[in-house]
Symmetry: C2
Subunit: 186 residues, 2 copies
C-alpha cells in the first residue's frame, strides 16, 4: 500500500497546446478555459484592462509548469528598454492578480514568495531539497483524510494547506557520498 503517488491522477491533456513547456512531475488537468481565457474573464468582470504587460506575463508564466519567484520571472523578461520589458512593481502587481484570479498559488520559501500553477493543475505537495533548493511535487490522497479529521476535531473550516517535506534529494545524496569517500581516502 502506498500513501502517496507522483503519477498523474487523470488522463490529462495539456491546455497549453502550441507552447513548449518545461518538464514537471505532474501533468495538467483538462479544463474548460485556458488560463488566458480565464484571466480575460477575470479582467472584464472587474473593469480591468488587458495590457501588453499582462499578456506578456501570462504567456511567460503559463509557458511552463516550473515553480518560480518574482526574480526568476524578471530574468526571463526582455531587458529594460527592450520591447516586452515589464517593470518589477508591475510584475508583483500582476502576480497578485494571477493569484486572485485563481491562476497561481503563492507560498513562502526561505523568506521569499514562490509561485506555481493552480488553475488546471492537480493538487499536490512538495519535497524540498535543502542542498540544491529543488522542489519535487508529489500527490497524497491520505492528506485529505487528515485534514477532514483534524478539522472536525477542532471545529475548523479548512480552506487550504501547505505541506513541505525537507531533506536531501537523491542526486544530492549521491554527490555527498562521493565527497565523503574522497574525504575518507585522504
Amino acid at each position: 500500500m502506498s500513501a502517496s503517488s507522483s503519477k498523474t491522477v487523470e488522463p490529462a491533456h495539456n491546455v497549453h497546446d502550441g507552447r513548449e513547456r518545461a518538464k514537471s512531475s505532474l501533468t495538467p488537468v483538462r479544463v474548460a478555459l485556458t488560463p488566458a481565457q480565464r484571466f480575460g474573464d477575470y479582467l472584464q468582470s472587474r473593469g480591468m484592462r488587458s495590457t501588453q504587460q499582462r499578456q506578456m506575463l501570462l504567456e511567460l508564466v503559463f509557458s511552463g509548469h516550473e515553480h518560480f519567484d518574482a526574480d526568476q520571472l524578471m530574468e526571463r523578461l526582455p531587458a529594460k528598454g527592450k520591447h516586452g520589458y515589464v517593470s518589477r512593481p508591475t510584475v508583483y502587481r500582476t502576480l497578485a492578480e494571477f493569484v486572485d484570479a485563481g491562476l497561481l498559488r503563492k507560498f513562502e520559501l526561505k523568506g521569499r514568495s514562490v509561485y506555481e500553477h493552480d488553475y488546471g493543475y492537480p493538487q499536490h505537495d512538495h519535497l524540498h531539497c535543502t542542498e540544491c533548493g529543488k522542489l519535487i511535487e508529489f500527490q497524497c490522497e491520505t492528506l485529505s483524510d487528515i485534514k477532514s479529521s483534524v478539522a472536525s476535531e477542532h471545529g475548523f473550516q479548512v480552506r487550504s494547506h501547505r505541506l513541505i517535506i525537507s531533506g536531501i534529494c537523491q542526486p544530492c545524496r549521491k554527490k555527498r557520498r562521493r565527497v565523503r569517500r574522497k574525504v575518507d581516502r585522504i
Copy 2:
C-alpha cells in the same frame, strides 16, 4: 478511527518547573537536560560565552510554550535603558543560536519568522486561522507514514517537514455567523 489527535503523547512532566508557563495545547515531554543546561553545553562546546543577554532570552523563551516572533519577544523584554534590555540584533542572533542548538524550530508565516519550542516538545503540526492569526497545534501519526512512503518513492532523505492547514477557527466562524445574521436583518 481518528487520523489525528491533540492529546498528549506521553505521561509528560514539565521540565520547566518553578516557572509559570503559558497555556498550550500540547504538554512538554520529559527530557534529560533542561533547555538551559542543553544550551550551556552548546555554548561550552563551541567556546561561546554565557552572557546576561543569552540568559535573559533563555528565560523568556522557555517560560512559556507559545509561538512567537522576534517582535513579540522584544516586547516582553525590559525597555531600552532598563536592566535586562537586549537589542534587536542580539535577539535575532540569539534566536538563531537557539535554533542551531536544537532548542527552537523556526518557520515562516506571512513573510515573518515564527519560533516554537523544539527541544523537549512533541512533534506536531498547525492549524492557522487566517481571520485571527491564531495557531492551533495538533498531532497526527499518519503523517510519518506519508513521509516514509513518499521518501522511499523518491529516494529522498527526510530531515523534517512543515504542515500548515489554513482556514477559519471555531470562534471566528461563530463571530462571522453573528455578523452575517446582523447584515441579513438590515
